[in-house]
Symmetry: D2
Subunit: 105 residues, 4 copies
């Protein structure tokens, strides 16, 4: 897992110098933050639709699409994967998982 | 990374027997798929808002919230983390990253 | 207002027999419920982005896009505009506006 | 229709001076743009879920919720209902309905 996310983040970083004509990721960077955020909104909706339809393969595919585009967004705004991991790490503890209950959101 | 996601997935799985009164995750499971999907839609919107506002800390926080709730969803529908990782793995290759360009979505 | 929404609803209904090659709405119907719902998710995200950016013209445009696609959805599932109006009517009263506070959602 | 939307917009405008303790709408205004946009994201997701579930009553209810919160947003950013109506008016013509096809979004 670590390997694949780290590798994805590195590949996304490397795409910053790529040609938008041939690279989907470079095209997203060129489109800018709004274009990337639209994709996140789209993929979140597609995931909801897939989950309601109930096909496991589609659910996996749409979740990967959503995560992928959030990684593109983090890369675009120069937030390192390590920061996201640290935040998830915090939630992996028992207290982290239960904390949301108390802050009620 | 691998460690934290695997640990999160295991903790979420273990929460299936927890008391909704004391566990936020057990409450989500009890609420069912629709409740979990609503959270995914909410967190995606909060991420878009945070990214537009531009505070790195909030962006990290909302991305973690979004990933967390997608993991709860996968757990709820009994899709293993390994399937998501395999799909991301597929995208971590160069061809995987560019593929979306050709299928145009 | 009444005139324009009623006219829109009637036009959407009439598009049910149109050629997807030449009519955007007929293409949405042909795409089916999932395609229409994806558009609703997209337009909602675009509205959030436009509102955060703050350009009044874009906000109006994206709100109209969102309402338009919800009308396409209602037409697709054969729910009449009159039912939506009746529900909004209920909220136009003072009590209707305040009700949400008590049900807390 | 005209009557109800105009009345809703007027009531929302009047709520600007209301007490957030007793008025849900005043509480939204007080929460600010981000809070209102989160509600729009939430309601859009709930509409997608309701449409996939297929209960007509829920679909109507969630559509009304979504429209209601977009009206709160327009009121909050001081965009008049008349501007939205003018934009919808533009789409109610045949050419308006087909235009989206050509601009491909």
């Amino acid at each position: 897992v670590e390997a694949v996310l780290t590798r994805l983040a590195e590949t996304l970083e490397a795409r910053k110098g790529a040609d938008p004509e041939t690279s989907y990721v470079a095209r997203l960077y060129e489109g800018g933050l709004d274009m990337i955020l639209k994709k996140i909104g789209e993929e979140a909706t597609e995931l909801v639709i897939a989950a309601k339809t109930g096909e496991a393969g589609d659910i996996v595919h749409e979740t990967a699409d959503l995560w992928f585009h959030t990684l593109v967004m983090l890369s675009h705004v120069d937030v390192g994967l390590d920061q996201l991991i640290a935040e998830l790490e915090r939630r992996a503890g028992v207290s982290g998982l239960e904390e949301k209950a108390s802050r009620g959101s």
